[in-house]
Amino acid sequence: MIARAAIAAIAALLLAAAAAAATKMDPVPPSGENATGMSALDVRLKRLETELRCLVCQNQTLADSNAGLADDLRREVRALALAGKSDDDIKGYLVARYGDFVLYKPPVKPITWILWFGPFALLAGGGAIWWVVLRRRARAATAGDAAGEARARALMDDSDHDNGSGP
């Protein structure tokens, strides 16, 4: 009982942490942000920077990082945006120099198939095994029932016979 409560508590904590992380990682700026004086370009750059990785600190986005290189890359991204480049152009510019790693969301291509579809394949495989096991168990249970029933019937037949033979 105590163990179950502990597990529930841990699960609740993990959920809360995940929710907190999710809100922190939210790449879309709140809709009120424009009212705080950010221009459309600023909003766009902010969003773009949250999708790009700072290569020096690796687990921070370009928007979060204070590293010198992140400064330079932010400057570069801004210059490209001012030059009229699209988001895809800007990402392409950085990928050409730093590789896909610079993107927080890796592109879907043969080398990332395991990354993208692996979890679903595992889930499907686990589901298939689960289904097979359940079906086999159900069959064993019905088979057991049938055998038991036959035995019970035989016993009953016996008692019928006993009764019938009685006076």
Partner: protein, 182 residues
């Protein structure tokens, strides 16, 4: 093998196979250095630049000037601590006169750069100044030191991330240099 036996061996081999695959993935994944991001530049033309020389600020060096030679581009800076680790190796390499090494003084004050070379020795055929780091971005530099091997046609062939090591030099870079110089 009866069906039952097959089932039994399956029951053993499946978890074992999953375990082996898991171990293989972890083995490879955990033994990799996450700081070594493979460069997309390998096999592609080295980004062009034309930059002022550190010791002759009025002169410039351009990638076009180096067509026809196999050369190393070593990204360094006076503020870079790990550059001190690899520097004696570069000095030694320069003495051996196998391949010209050009230095990219990255995001550095030229005065500091010159002083640093005066103190530690200058292995570079020439150093060029990338004051604001723009050329560094073109080369995908995200830490110093980094070293690029560029062939006669101006194609990047190899990138060393972090300090050069005697092993990397002997086992990878110098054999490639010899092959490319043919």
């Amino acid at each position: 093998m009866s069906k039952e036996q097959a089932l039994k061996s399956f029951r053993w081999s499946l978890p074992l196979a999953i375990f082996v695959i898991l171990v293989a993935f972890l083995w490879v994944g955990l033994s990799r250095d996450p700081r070594e991001v493979p460069s997309p530049l390998i096999g592609k033309p080295a980004p062009a630049f034309q930059l002022a020389k550190l010791h002759a600020p009025k002169e410039t060096l351009a990638t076009a000037d180096l067509k026809g030679t196999v050369w190393l581009l070593n990204v360094w800076a006076s503020w870079c601590v790990s550059c001190r680790v690899e520097h004696p190796l570069l000095v030694e390499l320069a003495k051996a006169n196998i391949v010209p090494v050009y230095g990219l003084d990255y995001k550095d004050n030229p005065d500091d750069g010159r002083a640093w070379l005066a103190q530690h020795g200058d292995p570079y055929t020439a150093s060029i100044v990338d004051r604001d780091g723009r050329v560094g971005i073109d080369y995908g530099v995200y830490g110093v030191p980094e070293t690029f091997l560029i062939d006669k046609a101006g194609i990047v062939r190899y990138k060393q991330i972090g300090p050069l090591t005697p092993e990397a030099l002997k086992q990878k870079i110098l054999p490639m240099v010899r092959e490319l110089q043919k």
